[in-house]
Amino acid sequence: MTDIEPWIEGDAPADVVEWLGAARRESPRDDVVERCAMLVAAGGVGLAAAVSKPLAGGSGLAGSSTAALSLLKWGAGGLLAGTLVVSGARVAGVTTGPSDRGAPASSLSVSVEVAPPRAPAPAPMAREAVPPVPEETAPPLAKAKASPARAATESGHPHASPDERLAEELALIDRVRASVDAHQPALAGRLLTEHEARFGKSAQCAPEARYLRVEVMLATGRMDEVRRLAREILDHDPSGPHAARARALLKESDPEGELRR
């Protein structure tokens, strides 16, 4: 098999080289990166609930969490230097330090609603603390940080933030995919049923789930279902990543159903 080298090192046209270079050079602002780094440090679960709405929502959404979020979007280019302390549901305000760009610090109010503060607990201690410490006395942060994915998945609680639910959903879809790859269509089918039960037909990963269900139907020889789902894919997402395969499946399939996988 001949190998393939990046085009830019080969015979790409000059203007393409220029374009690719520009794309490589484009980068996010440093303060945007740093803000994100601080946000994830301040604690995943509760904070995700607070900041799960887009920062750039210029459409004037009501609600205190959104009002506080607009504080997080630093038009003045200041850096979120202080510790972000949040309650489970609302960010009422943030503590700030002086901007490191020399601009005057924004004068934001500092009233904060605080449930158990999450930020100060260092991560390594949190991770180590879980095994030897009895369940009842382990600080909440230790459990949350040590296995945030499992906590979120097992919680199943209805007030999980959109990002937590997406993480759960992606984890489940990954498991479906793994079972399809491992030629375990029965397991994959059960997981897909679980996916639909937990996340509904309008789930974010519904297109992916539908496509995986096609794979399961193919593996179990249920061609009528294959055709039905392929048509659904084309109805919902005719230009999406699975459309080409859906079309191919419909074209190839016939009552005698000799399909190549």
Binding site: I4, A41, S147
Partner: protein, 177 residues
């Protein structure tokens, strides 16, 4: 060791720019990419334990493409307007002339990428722009290595064809329409 040095923060600092650039080439404007990249990171840092060494970008790409698709469905994806802002801070030392050239290059690139089929575009962006290896591209797109290689070749052909058409369109502008 303070909160800013924990594994999640380090992960963000290491990979945020990659996620952001990918989202930009998936059609998001810079400020939308800011938000979407943050969401990708919120999801990813909750699953750090599941991400194996050397597989971070593949994982992040998959998450980013889900989130970008959702953004586009939710917002009816906006075309980049000619006057898209390129923040001077993201191009250190950028004088107005350079910024203009860079902006134009990105517009052209995005115009070509826009028309490409999703699977080809993804392979192209990951390999030609982000420099993932063929194996990493295969992992990110969850396809066999051989499929990745052929997809990359097809992506180049498709890209070149569209770029050529774009260039022809420019030269013909105002002539036959």
């Amino acid at each position: 060791m303070g909160p800013a040095d924990d594994p999640a923060s380090q992960f963000v600092r290491q990979h945020f720019a990659f996620v952001w650039r990918v989202l930009r080439r998936l059609g998001l404007a810079p400020s939308d990419a800011d938000d979407a990249a943050q969401r990708v990171m919120m999801v990813a840092t909750q699953r750090l334990d599941d991400i194996r060494d050397g597989q971070a970008r593949a994982f992040l790409y998959r998450t980013a493409s889900f989130i970008a698709a959702r953004e586009r469905r939710g917002r009816r994806r906006r075309r980049e307007e000619p006057g898209v802002e390129l923040d001077g801070e993201s191009h250190p030392g950028g004088d107005p002339e350079t910024l203009l050239v860079e902006r134009r290059a990105l517009e052209r690139l995005d115009a070509v990428l826009d028309g490409m089929p999703e699977d080809l575009k993804a392979a192209f962006v990951l390999f030609e722009i982000e420099g993932l290896s063929k194996a990493e591209v295969a992992e990110a797109l969850e396809i066999p290595a051989g499929t990745a290689a052929s997809r990359l070749r097809r992506a180049r052909e498709d890209f070149a064809r569209r770029a050529h058409r774009l260039a022809l369109g420019d030269r013909a502008k105002g002539a036959t329409g």
